[in-house]
């Protein structure tokens, strides 16, 4: 047998090894499932979402106003919700597609869903797939709506609170929101709009298509 193999020409030897490897592949089937990740459970349990990984809506608003965009803002909600309203500069990647997206492992990624639960799930998926810098928006879309689009101030607030609210008001108006004053349960809009009770914000967000902005062209 060995003699017979030794006598073959190089190309025949290569052909036989290719055939053997091909035959083995038949029994291996699928080499790896892209949806199954090996997770070091201990490491993951220790690396819970840190305080500095949770970004306040006001801080995000500040970054957006200053165009301090060294991160990719990812909207994890459904496409329908994304098209209705989203935070400016965000891309839509529904959570089930998060691993097949164009996100790079060296990117800073800021996640938000409707609340903290979705973004925490996505945070776990990305972290266990070796994404380095993953942040989440504290409170998600709910927090963005409450703190940025419709911030409320009680009429009985102290002077200090009122002064702080002035800044919030400006931020809110920048994003087309409607700051409100509350007195005993009835909200009064103090926006610059002519109809004082209109709660609908002017949504200035222009949703960008998922992955459109930073997509890399590859190929031969």
């Amino acid at each position: 047998m060995i003699d017979w193999i030794m006598k073959l020409s190089i190309s025949k030897k290569l052909a036989i090894s290719a055939f053997v490897l091909g035959l083995l592949a038949l029994f291996i089937g699928n080499p790896s499932n892209r949806n199954i990740i090996d997770v070091n459970t201990k490491e993951m349990a220790l690396s819970t979402i840190k305080k500095q990984d949770r970004i306040d809506a006001l801080i995000l608003a500040d970054w957006l106003i200053k165009e301090n965009l060294d991160f990719t803002l990812v909207d994890l909600r459904t496409e329908k919700e994304f098209n209705e309203y989203t935070i400016p500069a965000s891309v839509n990647i529904p959570i089930e597609n998060i691993l097949s997206s164009d996100l790079m492992r060296n990117q800073k990624i800021l996640l938000f869903g409707n609340d903290d639960v979705t973004s925490a799930q996505a945070w776990f998926i990305l972290k266990s797939s070796k994404y380095k810098s993953v942040l989440i928006l504290k409170g998600g879309m709910e927090a963005w709506k409450n703190e940025i689009l419709y911030p409320k101030l009680d009429t009985s607030a102290t002077l200090e609170q009122k002064a702080a609210f002035e800044k919030t008001k400006q931020v809110s108006l920048h994003f087309g929101g409607t700051p409100q004053m509350i007195s005993g349960g009835t909200a009064t809009s103090i926006s610059v709009q002519t109809t004082p009770t209109a709660p609908a914000p002017k949504l200035s967000a222009t949703p960008s298509k998922a992955g459109g902005a930073k997509k890399k062209k590859e190929g031969c």
Partner: protein, 200 residues
């Protein structure tokens, strides 16, 4: 874990250096395979020298087995290897045009660069033709864009398309390649005699 670039082992700059080195190696392999010679390349289409088929199938089988086993050993994340979209009609037409150019000119884009860099004048002329073609295509792109992006099938791979396992596809391609090698060896002898030409 591979691919190294996607896992951020190095940045774009160093990636370009690596691409340059791999490119040199690719050109060297093509030249050593005899692909810098238009006669050998064109002979493929008249079936009296099957070198192109042999080299191409060898490259495909080697790369395929490498990717499959690297991925099986956990060295490579196959899902991060770039797969382009399939636009079936424009790509069939594009392949047809490229094939016509291949038969007429005797080169494909990569081999023409190899040929030009070894000093062959036909290779240099071919290269000029490529740049002219790219220029014309670029200028006409607004007119062609609709067709260019039509019949999009998304990212299709053979295992998904046929609903077979990766291993089955690997096995079938290997068998196909071995059969093609055997047929090519046999065909060369028969056709060389018939055409009265030796195997170059």
């Amino acid at each position: 874990m591979m691919p190294y670039f996607k896992f951020d082992y190095f940045g774009v700059d160093f990636g370009l250096v690596i691409a340059f080195i791999i490119g040199i190696g690719f050109g060297f392999a093509l030249e050593r395979g005899g692909f810098g010679n238009a006669r050998i390349l064109a002979a493929q289409f008249y079936f009296y020298n099957m070198r192109v088929l042999k080299v191409m199938f060898t490259a495909i089988v080697t790369a395929m087995l490498g990717l499959f086993y690297f991925s099986w050993l956990g060295w490579l994340d196959l899902s991060l290897v770039y797969v382009g979209n399939t636009y079936i009609l424009p790509q069939v037409l594009g392949g047809f045009i490229l094939g016509m150019g291949f038969v007429i000119g005797g080169y494909c884009p990569g081999t023409s660069v190899v040929s030009a860099s070894t000093g062959r004048i036909d290779g240099m002329v071919y290269l000029l033709g490529i740049f002219f073609g790219i220029f014309v295509f670029g200028e006409m792109f607004p007119l062609l864009e609709g067709f260019y992006l039509s019949t999009d099938m998304g990212k299709v791979t053979l295992p998904e398309f046929f609903g077979l396992s990766y291993g089955m596809i690997v096995f079938l391609v290997v068998v196909m390649a071995l059969a093609a090698f055997a047929a090519a060896e046999w065909g060369e002898k028969v056709l060389a005699k018939k055409n009265g030409r030796g195997i170059e």
